[in-house]
């Protein structure tokens, strides 16, 4: 037991590294928020554009979304981070990670929002339009409110899964939580900073995971 504490929760190491860990948590939270806000906004926008049913535009969206869903985020991070400087465009690592993860979340978000919009029956559209609402009004006040219930649980779960990928920042040197911890580990040869990082991730993401499962129970799939 003593050995365990000495390896994973050494008090002196906790005392010396917690400020770094806290800095890392802050960066992780900032990055996650940036990804969530921009990713979901773009995802919703793409789904709305898709409702306009312009053939060519929809095809482009579908292909783009498929690619972003099929290629691992770390692959895209490395392509953007190491490729762009050679063509004269150097982005800070924070921006690279933000762009890639926001694009991935936008792709998954688009699929989920689109499935939600499709789930609203045709009759709702017809009824709303026949009362004189415009296409946009129907979408905003009749269709979207009904999709929320269906869309929220998968959206929350997917959003968590993608914002957790902020830990990939370690690979390209974003000073986020995991990076701070691994740097500290290499200086002091003790695993305590890693345990602290794990606790930090739990503090950040556990509440959202619990929110996700609560939503799932709350909006349980209506049995057809």
């Amino acid at each position: 037991m003593e050995r365990f504490i000495d390896t994973f929760f050494k008090p002196s190491v906790i005392a010396s590294t917690w400020p770094k860990i806290l800095d890392g948590m802050l960066v992780t939270v900032e990055l996650a928020l940036a990804v969530v806000i921009s990713g979901l906004a773009v995802g919703l926008l793409l789904a709305l554009i898709r409702t306009a049913q312009i053939r060519l535009v929809n095809a482009v969206i579908i292909v783009l979304v498929d690619v972003l869903r099929a290629v691992p985020p770390l692959v895209m991070v490395l392509i953007v981070y190491f490729g762009l400087p050679n063509v004269g465009l150097t982005l800070p690592s924070f921006a690279v990670l933000w762009l890639v993860l926001a694009a991935v979340l936008a792709a998954f978000g688009e699929e989920i929002f689109w499935a939600g919009i499709l789930s609203v029956r045709r009759g709702q559209w017809d009824a709303a339009r026949s009362t004189g609402l415009t296409f946009i009004d129907t979408l905003a006040f009749v269709v979207l409110p009904q999709t929320i219930r269906m869309v929220l649980p998968p959206l929350v779960n997917r959003t968590i899964a993608i914002s957790k990928n902020t830990a990939l920042g370690t690979v390209i040197g974003v000073p986020e939580l995991l990076n701070q911890a691994t740097t500290a580990v290499s200086f002091i040869s003790n695993a305590t900073p890693l345990s602290l990082a794990a606790i930090g991730y739990l503090i950040i993401f556990l509440p959202v995971v619990l929110l996700g499962s609560w939503l799932e129970r709350r909006f349980a799939f209506r049995k057809a």
Binding site: R69, A70, P72, W114, T170, L178, A191
Partner: protein, 221 residues
């Protein structure tokens, strides 16, 4: 434009890196064939435990799944690979990857499978048992097949996620697809090998991604 092509789609570099990437791809497939069945079986056990009569078991598995769903898989992997040696447990990259991904994917498969099993009405149990099937036969031949069908879209998209997850193994120098590509990149100072790796993943996963999207929309309506 030429510069972009040269940097991201340099055919000469891609051709040279191709054999290396094929070898890496083999390792990626091996990883998938290990991690997916392990995670699926783990998930099945998690789902059964979550539906068990014993409150202690239910609650402790629930807490564990929540924890493993909140931790980024890369954090788990680095904890196992670089954390455990300080406690005297030294694992090779393959073992570390299998353990870390097992913890992560069992939690996710567990959630999906639990939802599937819960979606089957209790009448199915009663009917199956009353025909003389044992409890385990009922589960394997009556409940599970229906449960799997009900959560098929989630199973497919979760499996796609697991395959993508294996790319993280490159961080602990497992010589899989992305690691090989990144090695080629650092030798050639050209991003084309990594783009090629992306194409490998795309070819492997596109059919599954399409399938998942179709299934999701069908259930959506």
């Amino acid at each position: 434009m030429d510069q972009l092509l040269d940097q991201f789609f340099n055919l000469g570099v891609m051709v040279k890196a191709f054999p290396l990437l094929v070898r890496g791809f083999g390792m990626t497939l091996l990883l998938c064939l290990t991690v997916i069945p392990l995670g699926f079986i783990g998930g099945l056990l998690v789902a059964l435990a979550r539906l068990s009569r014993f409150a202690m078991l239910r609650i402790s598995i629930r807490v564990l799944t929540d924890i493993f769903r909140a931790l980024p898989p890369l954090v788990l992997l680095i904890l196992v690979y670089s954390g455990l040696p300080f406690a005297g447990v030294r694992l090779n990259p393959f073992e570390a990857v299998c353990i870390a991904f097992f913890l992560n994917t069992s939690a996710y498969y567990g959630e999906v499978l639990r939802a599937g099993i819960e979606s089957i009405g209790f009448g199915q149990w009663e009917a199956a048992r009353s025909t003389g099937l044992s409890a385990s036969d009922t589960f394997v031949f009556v409940i599970l097949p229906q449960a799997l069908r009900n959560v098929l879209p989630d199973l497919v998209s979760n499996t796609v996620e697991v395959v993508k997850l294996t790319s993280i193994a490159s961080v602990v120098s497992m010589t899989e697809l992305l690691y090989s590509a990144d090695m080629a990149r650092s030798v050639t100072f050209n991003a084309s090998p990594v783009v090629l790796a992306g194409l490998f993943y795309l070819v492997l996963l596109w059919p599954a991604v399409r399938l998942a999207a179709r299934l999701e929309h069908r259930v959506g309506i």
